[in-house]
């Protein structure tokens, strides 16, 4: 009897191994058990990002998004090496069309457009990611508190969220930026961050409320966990994909909003950014002078950057909503 059972187990083992080899997707099961034995000694956030990227890489759309985003990150980090000229120096002939020295031509002030584009990547990335992060952090704190504390706290925070949600975004940013009169890129970042959190907060609130009613949250208080630990160790880890989605959503909106503000000349038009290239192009009537590159180059860069965020978000959506999965 016993010998037969052993034999069978062997058979089972044999088949399991085969399945694991054949099925690339059977990973989560094995990954978990392996990771607890020899976890690589890397700092936590780094491991987290690596794992997130490898998960998203499996989805076709988000893979394209990751490639585009990777390209822009590369360009902004390597800007000093990649840029052929200074981005601010005005030592070229103005209004030049693309030529051998200035691949994308020059601005009305005689600056090299390609170098401006390369350095401008830094500003757009920083504002997009920074404002996205700020908005997500606000959304998380308001959403978590409001979802976990029903009653008066939730009522007040929900009302605030709904109010923030119905305030027209761009006009509000314009009004606040006009009052602040400061010209820095940081001002734009903060204004966008502080006006763009409401959508995320609403989603996170309802998810928190759902998780709160789950038995494992009650079980945590039965296990003697304190409030903060319940929120951060039990609820938050279940919202990673939601928080990521709201981050990339906010970042998309931030990239578009920042370029819109820069294009309107709110903020400092002398900061080298994609939006300000467009501002000067519009000011100098680039179309009339035939310098369409001045409009197309930054415009397409903005589209590509926000597109990369949108594509990455598709992958995240698919992870959290199995119904959206493609066959």
């Amino acid at each position: 009897m016993i010998s037969f059972r052993n034999k069978r187990r062997d058979i089972i083992k044999g088949v399991t191994v085969e399945i694991v080899v054949a099925e690339d997707d059977a990973r989560p099961l094995n990954e978990e058990s392996k990771s607890s034995y020899n976890r690589p000694k890397l700092p936590g956030p780094f491991v987290f990002i690596l794992r997130a990227v490898s998960t998203l890489w499996r989805n076709k759309k988000s893979r394209v998004g990751l490639v585009i985003l990777g390209f822009f990150i590369f360009v902004s980090v390597m800007a000093p090496i990649l840029a052929p000229h200074s981005a601010t120096a005005t030592n070229f002939k103005p209004y030049q069309n693309p030529n051998a020295t200035n691949w994308l031509g020059t601005t009305g002030n005689g600056q090299d457009v390609l170098s401006q584009m390369i350095y401008g990547t830094r500003v757009s990335l920083l504002v997009g990611l920074g404002a996205g992060l700020l908005a997500t952090l606000i959304a998380l704190s308001i959403g978590l508190v409001s979802g976990y504390r029903p009653g008066i706290v939730d009522e007040v925070l929900s009302f605030t969220t709904n109010l923030a949600l119905v305030l027209p975004g761009l006009p509000l940013m314009i009004v606040i930026a006009t009052y602040l009169r400061s010209n820095s890129m940081w001002m734009i970042l903060f204004v966008i961050g502080f006006t763009g959190w409401a959508t995320g907060a609403r989603v996170i609130r309802s998810q928190t409320a759902t998780l709160r009613s789950r038995d494992f949250v009650s079980a945590a208080s039965f296990s003697g966990e304190r409030l903060l630990r319940v929120v951060f160790k039990e609820i938050l880890p279940n919202m990673v994909s939601l928080a990521a989605a709201s981050f990339f959503g906010a970042a998309t909106a931030a990239v578009i909003a920042a370029s819109s503000l820069e294009f309107l000349g709110i903020g400092n038009p002398n900061t080298v950014s994609w939006g300000s290239i467009l501002y000067w192009a519009e000011n100098d009537n680039a179309f009339l002078t035939g310098q369409w590159v001045l409009v197309f180059a930054p415009g397409i860069a903005i589209v590509l950057l926000s597109l990369s965020f949108i594509l990455i978000n598709f992958g995240i959506d698919t992870l959290s909503n199995p119904r959206l999965r493609e066959k």
């Binding site: 069978r8 058979i11 089972i12 088949v15 399945i19 099925e23 997707d25 059977a26 499996r58 066959k327």
Partner: protein, 336 residues
């Protein structure tokens, strides 16, 4: 001719990520007209998958790998969309497990009934408001509901009422075969019994062929004429419901399952469980799926998959209880 014949049916789930699971394995079943057949099994036995396969309601990631489901002689797995739709009138119907959510929340009951009737109206038939209401009143009284329910929306009805409405809708096309997939599981204990009573009396009075899929042996034995016991995607036992509880030849799984029930009123109540772990459907192994949990298992049980062997009215798939004798005539060959 049997009303339903299932031959060599294999259904598996192939999710985008994750392991392939074969839910129904090499299944052969044949149903006579007017029979009330129960299919009993625990989670993972493939009973619900089978019910969906019979009515051709399976959706990805479920895939029918091979086999045929013949309803009155036609293999419904080969029908096109519109041919299948025509089969619904006077044909196949399905009542879902979660009757609670089976009704469109934004349409009143009479409108939903009208949708069904109009979809299958034949030449010369006209389903105007009054015709739908008249038919609706009839159908609702059949499931013991007031015709006033016609004007209600689903959220205004209790769970039991919703499941009754769903049954009325399913029966509105006079189906010859109705599959009830756990029709009372989502309902409150006391409501469960009365809905089951309605189903039983409807089957008897209207004479349709019915399949009751349930995890609850007692419900099945109480309502049906014939019981099929499923384990790990296969039918392991098939016999008249009357004799399932009595001594006789049974699959060891059925016997073990029977010991998990008892009468709370008895002087001494003893409940038993089935040790070991439920079968892992992602693994294809030779031998009987129940063998690792079976106290009677012998060598052959781990090596060869037993096939259903007939002995008079009953069929059991077990090497120990009903070994295949070379002399036996009615041995079905199980494809592998």
């Amino acid at each position: 001719m049997p009303i339903l014949e299932i031959e060599g049916l294999n259904v598996c789930y192939r999710p985008e990520r994750g392991v392939r699971i074969s839910a129904v394995r090499d299944l052969d079943i044949s149903l006579e007209r007017g029979e009330f057949v129960g299919i009993v099994g625990e989670s993972g036995s493939g009973k619900s998958t089978l019910g969906f396969a019979i009515t051709r309601m399976l959706r990805p990631p479920a895939v029918i790998e091979s086999g045929a489901v013949k309803f009155k002689g036609t293999n419904i797995l080969e029908l096109t969309g519109s041919e299948l739709r025509n089969q619904r009138r006077g044909g196949l119907a399905l009542v879902l497990q979660s009757g609670m959510n089976a009704l469109n929340p934004v349409r009143s009951i009479s409108k939903q009934l009208g949708d069904v009737l109009k979809a299958h109206s034949q030449k010369g038939e006209h389903w105007g408001r009054s015709e739908v209401r008249a038919r609706g009143g009839e159908l609702l009284s059949m499931v013991e509901l007031d015709s006033e329910v016609l004007d209600r929306y689903p959220h205004e009805l209790s769970g039991g009422m919703r499941q009754r409405v769903a049954i009325a809708l399913a029966l509105s096309l006079e189906p010859e075969l109705v599959v009830f997939d756990e029709p009372t599981t989502a309902l409150d204990v006391i409501v469960q019994a009365s809905v089951m009573e309605t189903i039983k009396s409807l089957q008897r009075s209207r004479g349709f062929t019915a399949i009751l899929i349930s995890h609850d042996m007692s419900v099945v034995l109480d309502a049906t004429d014939r019981t099929l016991v499923m384990y790990a995607g296969r039918v392991v036992e098939d016999q008249p419901s009357k004799t399932v509880a009595s001594a006789g030849i049974h699959h060891p799984y059925t016997e073990a399952l029977m010991k998990c029930y008892a009468d709370p009123r008895a002087d001494k109540v003893e409940l038993q469980d089935i040790g070991g772990t439920p079968p892992d459907l992602s693994i294809e192994v030779a031998g009987c799926s129940f063998a690792p949990r079976c106290s009677f298992a012998s060598k052959v049980c781990f090596l060869e998959t037993p096939s259903l062997v007939r002995s008079e009215l009953i069929q059991v798939a077990c090497h120990v209880r009903l070994p295949v004798s070379p002399m036996a005539k009615e041995v079905k060959v199980v494809r592998n």
